[in-house]
Symmetry: none
Subunit: 196 residues, 4 copies
């Protein structure tokens, strides 16, 4: 299995670094190879083509990203706590890894439609996590049972994505983690005057 060989991960990590530093369009395969410490041709022993590096990068990193969120959520006992945990994990993981944040929020979006479809496939798993939390909340009667799942999913993901993108575009000048509680409250209560 190529994915377990050390060079596979080396190349993906080099790709993250190179893309974060140089931007998507200035990230030539030869630059990635150099940073990974392998020959250009070696890249093609592990990846079908350049796009395959990017898709694999996203799968690998986003897979771990979602896995960690799933693990953390399991330790929580109700939907509200799970949602908070998800927001916190989403933010903390990207806050911890600035380069990855740049790559996923900005650079990889410059890819073509085909690549973005593959990226969306990876995201489906994340959307399912959201769905489960919301469903649980509705079952608990803490969330409105009449909610349209698709809209909720898009609000939650859209909000998280937009807040992270803003943070990255502002060059991470403020503390992303500090927003977690506020965003959680917003998602739970919306704009309305809170009842408490």
């Amino acid at each position: 299995m190529k994915k377990n060989k050390p060079k596979y991960k080396q190349i993906i990590d080099a790709a993250v670094e190179v893309i974060a530093e140089n931007g998507y369009h200035s990230s030539q395969v030869s630059k990635i190879a150099k940073k990974a410490g392998v020959a250009d041709g070696t890249i093609y022993l592990y990846f079908k083509n350049k796009e395959d590096i990017l898709v694999s990068l996203f799968q690998e990193k986003m897979g771990q990203f979602i896995e960690k969120i799933e693990e953390e959520i399991q330790t929580k006992s109700n939907a509200k706590e799970k949602l908070l945990s998800m927001v916190e994990m989403h933010y903390s993981q990207l806050a911890k890894n600035h380069q990855l944040a740049i790559v996923t929020q900005l650079e990889l979006r410059q890819s073509n439609k085909e690549l973005r479809l593959k990226i969306n496939d990876v995201l489906k798993r994340y959307l399912e996590v959201i769905d489960h939390i919301v469903q649980e909340g509705m079952d608990e009667k803490h969330f409105d049972p009449s909610l349209d799942m698709r809209l909720v999913r898009q609000m939650v993901f859209g909000t998280l994505d937009e807040t992270v993108t803003n943070w990255v575009m502002n060059e991470q000048k403020y503390d992303l983690m500090q927003q977690a509680n506020g965003v959680h409250q917003l998602l739970i209560n919306g704009l309305s005057q809170s009842r408490e």
Copy 2:
């Protein structure tokens, strides 16, 4: 002023058509020129370079987009109605113009960081519209006065943007307008069990 000459608008409209039909990366200047019925070189009498066509396109179209939202909102008397009106206008204008929706939601995001910074400048005006509505709602005590304006702005915009992008990526198979009320409710009440 070049912006009032007929060819200026011709070229921008051609760009929207060409990009919607062919995708960002297959939209060569020569294709836009052909569709606009002018020579390649003529483009450069009206635009500094290719990127300038795209920025101008966004300014022109998004400017009108925001203007119409502003006009419509003025006729509403409170923040909740204004927010609903904004959601409806946002959706209706893009639903009415599929090509523009494809260009703004998918194709223009493939542009490089520099171009996206300029695009963000255009969006600032829209974000200010959101801010005004939210501020008004807080003043009316209908919206929670302790809300963090930046987070709200990002939740609102992120939700609208994500819902439209999903609709476009699903090839506009469902009716975007029908979502307006649900999204409005979600933004107002969040996930919590509604009080009514």
Copy 3:
């Protein structure tokens, strides 16, 4: 019509020179462009791709080659004279243009199967010239009427082609034209002891 523009012919002539001098595999498009005195990109205004240069080269040069043979043959009154004329013209034209001889006999044969099929199309016209002469000879009862046209055509063309290729491979050390009569006699009488 692009074929009548001066750059079209410039590029083809440059291609003949470059291929004859450097060999097929060392004849990069950029080398041809440089020799033709145009930019690399200009090549692609006149030719679809590199292979199209080679096919066009063959069509252009071989077309003229065959045309001249046809013209010369018309002035002869019987098949034997026409055959001699054909042999002489075949040899004289290639003897006069060493570079073209190298390209057609050696370098262009290194091309892939697809290109060779296109080259064969061009040659069909030449084979028809042979067929006409042989048919005329059979009608005159000077040539054996029971001959298999396909075999004759292949013998004649194979002989001419092989003799020219040998001459080119021997770096044109001997006089190709001096062979014309001998080859003509061979084709007419074969190996048999002549009757005269």
Copy 4:
């Protein structure tokens, strides 16, 4: 002597198969190694480089080819019969081995000038066979003693080669062997009205 080791022949036979199936340009060393059941590196224990495989292939196969022709010819008592025998053997051997025919007539001609010079060296032995037959025919006074040996050699070889190439290019749709007599007659009598 490496040539007698089993892997030497394995590799050559694999090369014939691979080139016949995939064409010259798609016949990578790794493909040949795989078909031969050896590692890529093993090839280089038996052959200096890729070109050496091709030259050796030609030497090996053409050597056997010529040997069989020589054996068969020995059983004939005069030049005419020997010539017929040569034509028949030439055709029958290639008709029996389609893959080899494809490789020698089409694929190996795509090689570069250098390789073809080496190939020509191998063919010299065949040309000598032709020369001997012709000389014998002239001594017997059945062939015209004033013939130019070089021209005859090129006519005979050019005719055989052209007829086989045509047969291969036409995907061996007709029976090559059936042409043997006709070609033999053509070579003996040329185009002239036969005396019988």
